[in-house]
Subunit: 343 residues, 2 copies
């Protein structure tokens, strides 16, 4: 059997309480006692049991971040950034993967898990507002993502419409007239990221008194290959286009690959803009013009809200009115690189 504090206490000839104090330093212990305790602990190979401490303390000093996929660079970068911030504050971050599945997202924020973590950041893509609104408690939960979300939770998002509008406007301002959107969505379907970015694309056209041709809207999957396939399709359909707004940088990489393979020059024949400003986006050939969604602001705001809601929960408030849930939209910014011409 694994040795416990009592075992150490017996071996050192002290009480368990003293062992605890000696090991954690929470209360002063005489040097002699501390030495004896440490000796005994080492001899027995004693190891602290954190589950017991958590049960006792009711806190874990750990925050969980639930993302759809570990291997999507956007989420990897998000997790890394969050992890750095939390580590700076001496807290732990653990990341879980939901596979973008509704059940997995719900399981991750299920009541049962709420004692495991002091708070949960959920990057929701598979759940409906109703799913989340149905949760019957005030969990320390902050929502991230571009879906429609229930109003009762704090929520941080990026300004998708403004970003897409900015991107598309830049394409139109630099001489493009037929701007395809790769990864677009029907505006009347879901209210997710794609829909919002499609709306921005449409609005940019409206701004200049035009309207995009319907055949320029290409629906796709989320992966690199989807971006490539979309452009191949456009090309094989003979659709006329002189610019592509890819709704994510990931898709944009596929778009660039397809254009290169078809011998279309970027930006001379076709301009390209992405969205997300991934770390790798400055290193495509040519370097990708994209929309920065305000990564850092989102991270900072998210953690601020988390602290707020955790404090609210700690202070025993069931559904406190001290400060209602906030809904933050981070500001976007266009990053002009080499896949677009200068104005």
């Amino acid at each position: 059997m694994k040795p416990t504090m009592s075992d150490v206490a017996r071996a050192a000839g002290v009480s368990a309480m003293t062992v605890s104090n000696a090991l954690t330093g929470r209360r002063p212990v005489s040097p002699a006692t501390r030495a004896r305790v440490e000796r005994a602990a080492a001899d027995l190979g004693y190891e602290l049991n954190l589950t017991a401490r958590h049960l006792r303390a009711g806190r874990t000093d750990t925050v969980a971040l639930v993302v759809p996929h570990f291997d999507h660079p956007y989420y990897g970068e998000l997790a890394a950034r969050m992890g750095r911030h939390l580590a700076d504050q001496g807290r732990h971050l653990v990341v879980e993967q939901s596979g973008a599945r509704r059940e997995a997202e719900l399981a991750a924020v299920a009541p049962a898990r709420w004692q495991l973590y002091d708070g949960v950041l959920l990057s929701a893509v598979g759940t409906t507002p109703d799913d989340l609104a149905g949760l019957h408690t005030s969990v320390p939960l902050v929502l991230l993502g571009e879906q429609q979300m229930p109003a009762r939770y704090d929520h941080v998002r990026m300004d998708n419409v403004a970003g897409a509008r900015l991107a598309t406007r830049h394409l139109l301002a630099t001489g493009s007239r037929r701007v395809a959107i790769v990864g677009g969505a029907d505006p009347d379907r879901d209210a997710g990221m794609r829909t919002a970015r499609t709306l921005g694309w449409t609005m940019a056209h409206t701004d200049t008194g035009t309207a995009p041709a319907p055949e320029l809207l290409v629906r796709t999957g989320p992966d690199l290959s989807a971006g490539r396939d979309a452009v191949r399709r456009l090309l094989s359909d003979g659709t006329d286009f002189d610019a592509v707004f890819a709704v994510t940088d990931t898709l944009a990489v596929g778009v660039l690959a397809a254009l290169a393979e078809a011998g279309r020059r970027v930006p001379d024949d076709v301009q390209v803009v992405g969205f997300d400003n991934l770390a790798s986006s400055g290193f495509t050939v040519p370097a990708l013009t994209t929309v920065d969604p305000g990564h850092e602001q989102m991270a900072v705001e998210t953690l601020r809200l988390l602290d707020q809601v955790v404090a609210r929960a700690a202070s025993g408030e069931a559904d406190g009115r001290s400060s209602g849930p906030e809904h933050v939209t981070a500001p976007v910014r266009l990053v002009v690189r080499a896949t677009t011409r200068s104005a």
Copy 2:
């Protein structure tokens, strides 16, 4: 106060034990009782406390994977793959980030955390074999990574030397004579991934009865920009080279960016090979030839070893001789794409 099982029991007019049984289904409960319990639980907004269960059960059904950085695609893909496998088996994976720092890696496998997880997969890059060898217990731990590792733990790695040799041999076989290595290391320094891959590069030359010129070895950081900067330096130094072996695909992306910016054609003027076969590597311009390190085999082997060591720990064996630690090297494979000429 949050309601507990006793609260539910009182409300339902039964014992806590019956609540537990009714809710978990571990033991049969009469339909009428179950209904009353469920009713009471719902009314009170009862939520299971997992920390208590874990303390009691001594297991968490959760495995932790500790990686240096969430935002390095190699680790993101590794985590995603592990997560999928474990989810298929009904177990949880949580991922932590060590920042590649020695203390963080040690903290992640510190005794204190071992009750939190049924097992830990450590992607070690910051620790020395001695650090890990010093751990004084038989933790369910499987090591991943290309460092030297202490023999007492299971360890899964890729065949770096063979892979680098394969890559370089391909470059030499397709007509290149001056093969630069970007991200190389002095063979007599640490025994990490870079050293191994540098060794493979050297061996490929030896295989053909030549030796690489020292100025073709470029030391770099790990990032995209490091790959770009390495090539810029090579170019500005006037070093003659007609191929680049980048020790990671990430560096290779930077290499391609720098070559494009300098107007060197790939593969006509300069051939390029990477290492890791990231998901995005098929979508560079041109598509990157690279070494696949056997991702899937590594994942499968890792989980096999983990199950083994967890079982060993569960069966109370202190340092069981039933089956010693295994050291597995996954086989590599060259993936030829468009940054190299065909033989």
